[in-house]
């Protein structure tokens, strides 16, 4: 758990980067810091591992005031991932990943086991990749190494500053999924900086939207989309926030509320999607008219019905729009 108590950061007497920020990141949750460039996301993050000093207030990590701890020890207990992955080109992948465990003095056997485990998490063969150097990996692979390096010593807390920002959209989505999968297993307390709304909606248990160093709203993604607390939040998520919120719902949700359509066996050109697919991807598939009929399959791969644009629209209308606060519409 990370608690910010009225934290303020001034780079100089005129420049206040973070103003009176007060919030808690619950154990095992991902909080995404979101907001326009220069709003103080990175500054907020870097105060946690004391890469930046705190001007006023305090940050408490698992019941310990961060200032009471030795900075070096504190940092070794916090995983840190940055956009450009920060891998060291003079070290092999294995050396890179195991740095913190090395600093902590783990023995060889324990390190080897840990390395193999971590590489399995990201689906890279430790034997092949362990001895390579960072420049011998693709950007996506490097970024995953950056992530497991931060996980190496099993820190309770992770700080991630636009960890997937430099990747192309397809790889980024894959790595986001993979990371969420890992997070289900490791359950870290995570502060995650992003300036990508879709990424925030997807990754966050809670989103914190910042402007000029101040909290605009701190809420779950669906609350944020359906009940923006002020005009800035409303504007930030944009007119298409209803569509954006579709990514928080799955075909299964739709099935439960309004049911699926019958399958038409006579249509030859069909595609199938899984019932766990989110509705936003489903909608874009339908809009792209990739097939004449889109059939939904359940977890056992059995066909359970079909889905149409009309159904998504209906669901959007009743389930999402209906629940959005009316006063903020327009």
């Amino acid at each position: 758990m990370i608690t910010f108590n009225q934290v303020t950061k001034k780079y100089s007497s005129e420049k206040t980067a973070v103003k009176d920020v007060d919030f808690t990141v619950d154990e095992g949750k991902i909080v995404v810091l979101l907001g326009p460039s220069g709003c103080g996301k990175t500054t907020l993050l870097r105060m946690v591992n004391r890469l930046e000093s705190i001007t006023e207030g305090s940050i408490v990590i698992d019941n310990e005031n961060s200032m009471d701890l030795d900075a070096i020890e504190l940092r070794r207990k916090i995983g840190y991932v940055i956009q450009s992955n920060g891998l060291f080109p003079n070290m092999t992948i294995e050396e890179n990943v195991m740095i913190v465990t090395d600093l902590l003095g783990w023995n060889k056997k324990k390190k080897k086991e840990r390395f193999n485990y971590l590489m399995k998490l990201i689906g890279l063969d430790p034997k092949i990749y362990g001895k390579r150097y960072p420049h011998e990996l693709s950007g996506g692979q490097q970024q995953r190494i950056g992530v497991v390096r931060a996980l190496a010593a099993d820190p309770p807390v992770m700080l991630m500053d636009e960890p997937f920002g430099a990747l192309d959209p397809i790889i980024r989505e894959k790595i986001q999924d993979e990371f969420l999968q890992i997070q289900r297993e490791v359950k870290k307390t995570i502060l995650f900086v992003s300036h990508d709304i879709d990424e925030a909606i997807k990754m966050a248990d809670k989103i914190m939207l910042l402007r000029d160093g101040e909290i605009m709203q701190y809420d779950t993604p669906s609350k944020m989309l359906s009940h923006p607390e002020n005009e800035f939040v409303n504007q930030f998520f944009g007119k298409d926030r209803a569509i954006k919120s579709l990514s928080l719902h799955t075909v299964r949700n739709l099935q439960e509320v309004i049911g699926l359509a019958e399958m038409d066996e006579s249509i030859y050109d069909t595609k199938t999607i899984n019932v766990n697919q989110d509705l936003r991807n489903t909608l874009s598939m339908l809009l792209n008219q990739e097939a004449d009929q889109v059939i939904v399959t359940n977890d056992q791969d059995e066909k359970i019905g079909s889905i149409t644009i009309d159904l998504v629209q209906k669901y959007l209308h009743y389930e999402i729009k209906g629940k959005m606060s009316v006063s903020q519409e327009g």
């Binding site: 591992n49 070096i72 920060g86 060291f88 080109p89 150097y133």
Partner: protein, 217 residues
Amino acid sequence: MEQWARFLEINAPRILELTLDHALLVSLAIVVALLIGVPLGIYLTTNEYLAGTVLQVASVTLTIPSLALFGIMIPIFSLINKGIGFLPAFVALVLYSQLPIIRNTYTAIKNVNPEMRDAAIGMGMKTHQRLLRVEIPNAMPVIMAGIRTAVVLNIGIAVIAAYIGAGGLGVLITQGISRGDNYLIISGSLAVALLAIIADGLLLLIQKRFTTKAVVE
């Protein structure tokens, strides 16, 4: 051609001996210069205030004409009765190599990708761990470039050492000039050039051998 053959037949052993003297003087000066300059350059990266001053002083040293610097050594070392010979030449060369070595070491480390440094600090490395594991290895190509500059510079400047009786290939050249003997001048100059090329090549090999491919790129 024939005359060259005859000249070399007589002078080859002497040229070789002077080349070795020359190489020895330069090598010793470089080793000592490295022992001072590299640690100093590294230290300065952690002390911004001192860095400015030291780099300025080192720059000034390099602007003193080499002949003058050797000249200054004479009265200073006369105080301990060593006004001419190996010692003053050696000290002058050490001073001369400081700038390229300190400056390259300093800038090399300062120019290591700030995100890499950030990652190192963020992971909980102490200053010396960060220097040894991350900054120095990644700065190695530039540090080595500074050392190579210093070596080549010193091989050239050490020619002047002959004027203060420190021997080396400068002896051939100064003798050649005073006797009007072109053979001496040319052979001396060629030997200096050759020595510089070989030394530079050798250091480049060492540099390649000890830095990973990734760092060089």
